[in-house]
């Protein structure tokens, strides 16, 4: 159902129309503390184009809200403006909330946001196997716990988190930088369909609009606004994930980060967040603690294999990934080490990446 008022739709379409020119304008000088996207229409046009453009003003005059609503319906999408019920309250705190949220999938998912806690999970597009595993485990555990999982459907951490949530049959929400009807990145088309059928796909761009460079950080503010908690799994410095965390911090939301390997450049940003005081997240339980309060839920004891030799190998896997190095750490010869690794993998303690490096699985 499309419930967006004409003014809001016009505003959203104006931004979409100016989108190709906004990239340059974002870099230009503007009064401190003022977001470009928060400017009134006329000033926005002047700021983006440099001068009042009669063509754009005339287009603005002639904007046909009825046709715009029809186009949204045509794209099997829906639209919500802040004046409609169901517009996520969390976005209201942004200095520049999206004029209209265009979406696909289940619109009820947004109403659920009022009652159910939501967690935004973001991170690098090229995670380590450990990062992938963590993101997937978080998505799954939070999905099982009935928490809404918000992310950006990007390659890497975002996609892993969504996949985990989908695996758990949870409620995922994806916020895209382009129109809601364009699966982006295209490699996640399958995941897009999964998220759409279980939860919702959101965007501040109308259907059919492609993404721009600046619209990725812009959609990060929406992700930060939608959830009460933002978790960064692995993020480089600087990165979009840190922008999301910054938005969340400005909004006074909880920001957490998963500790990463110190030598991993892809975890430098998330580790910095920890130094700056973000909540240390070592497992999905920590996220649930942040939401429901410490101890509100029982925390499972960490499990270990019964066999002492296997425990030694498992400890080695936590430190290094190469079978040869694992063997050296555990003090075993190559055959013994491989044998133990096969056993541990068969029992689900460890996993291998595409080319044979080992990682401890999150249990």
């Amino acid at each position: 159902m499309t419930s967006a008022c004409g003014n809001c739709l016009r505003r959203a379409h104006l931004i979409a129309r100016l989108a190709p020119r906004i990239a340059g304008a974002l870099q230009g000088p503007r009064p401190p503390g003022t977001s470009l996207l928060a400017l009134p229409d006329a000033q926005l046009i002047a700021a983006v184009l440099g001068h009042p453009e009669p063509g754009v003003l005339a287009w603005l005059e002639a904007f046909d809200a009825v046709a715009a609503r029809a186009a949204v319906r045509e794209a099997d999408s829906w639209a919500l403006c802040p004046h409609a019920s169901g517009y996520p309250a969390g976005l209201g705190q942004l200095t520049d909330p999206p004029a209209v949220l265009f979406g696909r999938g289940r619109q009820e998912a947004l109403e659920q946001l009022a009652e159910t806690p939501a967690v935004t999970i973001v991170g690098t597009r090229r995670p380590s196997p450990y990062g992938s595993e963590m993101a997937h485990a978080f998505g799954r555990a939070l999905g099982v716990a009935g928490v809404v999982v918000v992310s950006g459907l990007a390659l890497g951490i975002d996609g892993d988190a969504h996949r985990g949530c989908v695996d758990a049959d949870g409620l995922p929400i994806a916020v895209l930088a382009g129109g809601p009807d364009i699966p982006y990145p295209s490699r996640h088309r399958w995941l897009y369909e999964q998220v759409r059928s279980r939860g919702a796909i959101l965007s501040e761009f109308p259907p059919g609009q492609r993404a721009f460079r600046w619209s990725f950080p812009a959609r990060n503010r929406i992700m930060a606004g939608l959830a009460g908690t933002t978790i960064v799994v692995e993020a480089a410095e600087p990165s979009g994930s840190l922008i999301t965390a910054e938005f969340a911090r400005e909004l006074g939301r909880t920001v957490g980060a998963v500790p990463g390997r110190v030598t991993n450049r892809m975890a430098a940003g998330s580790n910095r967040l920890l130094q700056d005081g973000a909540a240390v997240i070592t497992g999905p339980e920590d996220v649930l603690d942040q939401i429901y309060g410490v101890g509100a839920r029982p925390r499972p004891e960490p499990r270990l294999p019964d066999d002492e030799g296997l425990r030694a190998v498992l400890t080695a896997v936590e430190e290094v990934t190469d079978p040869a190095e694992i063997a050296a750490r555990a003090g075993l010869d190559a055959a013994e080490a491989r044998s133990a690794l096969g056993r541990l993998e068969a029992e689900g303690w460890i996993a291998r990446d595409a080319l044979g490096g080992y990682e401890r699985r999150v249990l």
């Binding site: 390659l155 190469d322 079978p323 055959a335 491989r338 044998s339 080319l355 044979g356």
Partner: protein
């Protein structure tokens, strides 16, 4: 006057009898060659004419017709020269026809009338044996090779003049003896001790050699992947006589043999720019490709990810069935191709260690996809090579002969396999097909349950299941145990390809 002489045409790695019919009659002096000759065969006319005249023999100034029968088989190469020249001699009464009934001829002529070495002498001798010829006359360079077929009396012939005397009975027919086998080449003398560290990869190499399993080495440049692969011939068991004959025959057809029975398994390392035809064989007159040249030996694919996708895809059938089929017209030519594949690759396109790697997800994904697919599915053992620690490089080698010790274990394991597989058609664990594998490798109920309850079903599906069983069998063989135990199975599982790559 009409004369008929028997010779052989190479087809694949076999040969097919061709009879050369020569007709000489009065008329304008012409020389016509019919029966689907290719260019090299048609040029035989010039060589034959010059060779005969230069040998002091007579070339008829008459109408000369040569037919190569059967007429529908395409004839290629210069190997028909000798038969045509002798046919002309017989048709003009310069030599008696009777000795030619039981003697096949094979060889290329030089203009002086001397015989040159050709390709495929062993295949010709085997063809002559199967066609029931008692004798084969061939160039001295070919005779040693052809003499490996003991059922045929191979007579070395120096020149046209020489064969004329032989056929007239003016000189004795001295039988050629097979050339002594070559000593082990430099490749086989490389020692595993030269490669420092990398115990995990060495263990995988030993298992691969013991059961002839396919193997993939993943590691950064300089870790020793190529060095390890080059040391594989040194730990492989020597070929049996039948295997050696097959290998020699292929090398002979391809023109790469030295004329003697090979004593070691081939090691082929084609460059990654090779075409699909180069790998599997092909051409108008099909020639064996690298996978056939590596038959009963090792096909080493260095920089696996750099090979073209069509080339790797072309390896699919050979690896599965152990042979290559090439269709030419209505005929199918079959090349044997039971090679053990050893591949090496960098872990990522930039080749740097994991924490300094600068490849992004898209690039890594593309790289993994290039590696994956039909070939990776047929890999039994994947091992990782870490960068070599500087300490390892300066450490003295503890003592040579590592390869000799490993080879002894490999040999013992192969003997166990041969005893077990006697009469099944397979020579080692890697040769076993799915049914034979399940019949040979029986697991206890507990181990079966273990395999069935793997957390990640992608780890072991269908083909993968059989491959793990085969490797586990080989590991037990190396340990001289008849029963496949829990530890063998675990080790085999750990060398199995990561599920991610197998599924990609």
């Amino acid at each position: 006057m009409l004369a008929s002489v028997a010779t052989f045409a190479i087809e694949g790695i076999a040969s097919r009898e061709v009879s050369v019919e020569v007709d000489v009659r009065r008329g304008l002096p012409t020389f016509t060659l019919v029966g689907l000759p290719d260019r090299a065969v048609r040029e035989a006319r010039e060589r034959v004419r010059a060779a005969l005249l230069n040998s002091g023999l007579d070339f008829p100034q008459q109408r000369l017709t040569v037919n190569l029968a059967p007429a529908h088989v395409r004839k290629a190469g210069p190997g028909f020269d000798l038969a045509i020249a002798v046919g002309v001699m017989a048709a003009t009464g310069q030599v008696p026809k009777q000795p030619l009934e039981s003697c096949a001829l094979y060889g290329e002529l030089s203009l002086s009338g001397e015989l040159r070495r050709g390709r495929g002498a062993l295949a010709v001798a085997l063809g002559a044996r199967d066609a029931g010829y008692a004798r084969l006359a061939a160039a001295p360079g070919d005779a040693g090779e052809a003499a490996l077929v003991s059922e045929v009396e191979v007579i070395p012939v120096e020149s046209l003049e020489d064969i004329a005397r032989l056929l007239r009975g003016e000189r004795p027919a001295e039988r050629a003896s097979p050339r002594p086998p070559r000593r082990r080449g430099p490749e086989a003398r490389l020692d595993l001790a030269d490669v420092r560290g990398q115990e995990d990869a060495k263990r995988a190499l030993e298992i691969a050699a013991a059961g002839s399993h396919n193997m993939l080495m993943v590691g950064p440049p300089g870790a020793g992947k190529t060095m390890l692969a080059r040391r594989l011939p040194g730990i492989l068991p020597p070929p049996s006589f039948e295997e050696a004959l097959e290998i020699t025959r292929i090398g002979s057809v391809a023109g790469i043999g030295g004329g003697e029975l090979v004593s070691e398994r081939p090691f082929r390392a084609p460059h990654h720019t090779i075409s699909p035809q180069g790998l599997t064989g092909g051409g108008l007159t099909p020639r064996p490709g690298e996978v056939t040249l590596a038959h009963r030996g090792v096909l080493f694919l260095d920089e696996l990810a750099e090979f073209s996708r069509p080339a790797l895809d072309a390896l699919r059938q050979p690896l599965e069935e152990g042979r290559v089929e090439i269709m030419r017209g209505q005929r199918t030519i079959v090349f044997p191709a039971r090679a053990m594949v050893v591949a090496a690759t960098n872990p990522c396109p930039c080749g740097r260690p994991a924490d300094a790697c600068s490849c992004d997800a898209v690039l890594l994904g593309r790289y993994a996809r290039r590696l994956s697919g039909p070939l990776l599915d047929r890999i039994d053992l994947v091992c990782r090579l870490g960068p070599v620690a500087p300490l390892e490089l300066v450490r003295e080698v503890e003592g040579d002969g590592t390869s000799r010790r490993v080879r002894r274990r490999v040999l013992a394991a192969r003997e166990r396999q041969q005893r077990r597989l006697e009469g099944s058609g397979a020579l080692c664990n890697g040769d076993m097909d799915g049914r034979l594998t399940r019949r040979t490798v029986r697991l206890g109920r507990r181990l079966r349950a273990r395999l069935a309850s793997l957390p990640d079903p992608g780890l072991l599906s269908g083909r993968g299941h059989d491959r793990v069983l085969r490797v586990a069998r080989t590991i037990a063989d190396l340990d001289e145990r008849e029963e496949v135990g829990e530890r063998d199975l675990d080790e085999a599982l750990a060398y199995r390809l990561g599920a991610v790559a197998a599924a990609a």
